[in-house]
């Protein structure tokens, strides 16, 4: 079908018509061949981009990350760029805290919503859910940040903080050490809402792969829906669900603007969810302006970007591999 030789089209040639069309026919084939070549080069682009981005960041951050030992950079506790100290640890810890809180808040509701949509909801309800999730996903991060400022921070400050102070003060992780609502908790709440539509969509896709017959097999012996979910559906797709959650976490890690606006941006290693923190993306975003004015600052900040990239790549590749295998060729 692909490569037809330019032989005399003996048997198919009518007396007149065919002969004259040969140049056109050949031109079509040539166009096809050229297109194939061009297109195939173009598909190299994604792989190429990943490599270029990683290498570029490595090169630019080498003066800091490559030269100094890890315990002074990634695990280093002191961040004083003017003195040449580039310890990322407070920022890494900050990112970790916010992501863990955000994911912690998001996982259970997202799993429940996706289970609801997949196992209980009627088609009409599902049809209504899609626009809602799409809208949530489309809202720009900066608008989430505005919402965070206007609604979440006051909520943390005026409602959650007094509550924790009164009832949970004994537990260190809930200790209230600062008077404002700009905190990891606020960042976590905003993050949770931001990643929720994504996680729900992925989990739903995964649940959708379970054939209906399997559910029917369980229901036919008189199991309830929930028994079916716990006994048959979830065990079947558990690795995929975990991969979906890990993928969600990798997105939460990288969220910059919304979190930056509510998390306080104080350089410290947090000890409580009510503490302010300074996640890695926020560090990069807040200080890019000073990048060229302090020696090695640009290498450090780009090093922060590199660390972020590497962690996200690891989470991303692992979970995507699992998901691609479970969901077939491609997924939403």
């Amino acid at each position: 079908m692909e490569e037809q030789q330019g032989t005399k089209p003996a048997s198919f040639a009518g007396a007149e018509g065919r002969q004259d069309n040969r140049p056109f026919a050949l031109a079509r084939l040539r166009a096809d061949r050229n297109a194939r070549r061009t297109f195939s080069v173009v598909t190299l682009l994604p792989l190429f981009l990943i490599a270029v981005i990683t290498i570029a960041l490595i090169i630019r951050s080498w003066p800091v990350l490559g030269v100094k030992p890890l315990n002074q950079t990634v695990f280093g506790p002191a961040w004083k760029p003017q003195d040449g100290l580039f310890g990322f640890w407070p920022f890494v810890a900050g990112t970790g805290w916010v992501t863990v809180v955000g994911m912690g808040l998001a996982i259970v509701p997202c799993v429940l919503v996706s289970l609801y949509l997949s196992e209980y909801a009627r088609a009409a309800t599902r049809a209504m859910a899609k626009p809602i999730l799409d809208l949530l996903a489309a809202i720009p991060p900066v608008v989430y940040g505005v919402w965070g400022l206007l609604a979440v921070v006051p909520f943390v400050e005026d409602v959650l903080r007094p509550f924790a102070k009164r009832w949970l003060g004994a537990i260190p992780v809930f200790a209230v050490n600062q008077p404002t609502g700009f905190s990891i908790l606020a960042g976590g709440i905003v993050l949770a809402v931001m990643v929720a539509p994504f996680i729900i969509a992925v989990l739903y896709e995964i649940l959708d792969t379970v054939p209906e017959e399997l559910r029917h097999a369980s229901l036919a012996v008189g199991a309830t829906r929930w028994q079916t979910v716990r006994g048959v559906v979830i065990p079947k797709v558990l690795p995929g669900m975990i991969a979906g959650i890990v993928l969600g976490a990798s997105r939460a890690l990288g969220e910059t603007i919304a979190v930056l606006m509510v998390v306080g941006n104080v350089v410290q290693v947090p000890t409580s969810i009510f503490d302010a923190a300074y996640p890695l993306p926020a560090l990069i975003a807040n200080n890019y302006g000073d990048m060229m004015s302090i020696p090695l600052y640009d290498a450090a900040l780009l090093g922060g970007a590199l660390v972020l990239l590497v962690v996200i790549l690891i989470f991303n590749i692992l979970s995507t591999l699992v998901l691609q295998r479970l969901l077939g060729r491609q997924w939403t």
């Binding site: 084939l29 509701p109 429940l112 505005v146 691609q324």
Partner: protein, 287 residues
Amino acid sequence: MRRGRWERRHVTEALAKAMMYASVALVAGSLALILFTVVLRGLPALSWEMVSKPPEGGYYMGKGGGVLNAIIGSLLLASGGTLAALIFGLPIALYLETYLGDSPWGRYVRLSLDVLWGIPSIVYGAFGFTLMLAIGLRASLLAGIIVLALLELPIMVRAMDEVIRRMPVDLEQAALALGSTKLEVAMRIVTRQMMPGIITAILLAFGRGIGDAASVLFTSGYTDRITTSLLRPTASLPLAVFFQLASPFPEVQKRGYASALILTVIVLVISLGSRWISGRVSRYTVK
């Protein structure tokens, strides 16, 4: 017996359902809350002046003007980025489906697209910055467009790929059986059938690009003037919101909320509009 509803498993089911409803309410409620907050706080400060004028001197201290610079800047950035992404993205998506299908190479390409999709915009911004330094480009509209194109490419291709692979195989086979080459099938039939999905993908990427701040932060700079040149810095709505909120003057902060509202409205219009358009264009598609 038949009517026993208090068995443990039924109680568990009822509890589970209650928690599910609560979660659904939580998620739907969050959307409502976000929109409500933005409208409530943004609407009062919204005025014709805001959308029709760039900031005047002292704008950030309370003087007059608007965010027209940011509106136009964002539209230009997103349009340029989306166009650039489309130029590379559509061929990639078509090639993936038409030639690569399920082959190992196809899987690598898809994996790398998924990985690119997962890279946060701040990293794209940082990369864009290194690119700018390397080629000597200053913070400008062009740099912003390049970075947005990089950001939008995986989003667009993924969305297109998802649509294209839903292409009824019979349609492709029918065309091939009539003697079309694969290229022709790709260009004439796939694109027409997939037009609604392709449009949705483009608008999806556009919406993402216009809302992003972290990538344009490094690369497009900021200015109070309306952009006229590719090589000069340009304002963008997300950054406009950001800077206005950072001001100590409440009037300016309120205008920040209004700018956020403008941005939200633009994104909502695009999102709803893409549904409408794909509905209209799908008149000729095979269902």
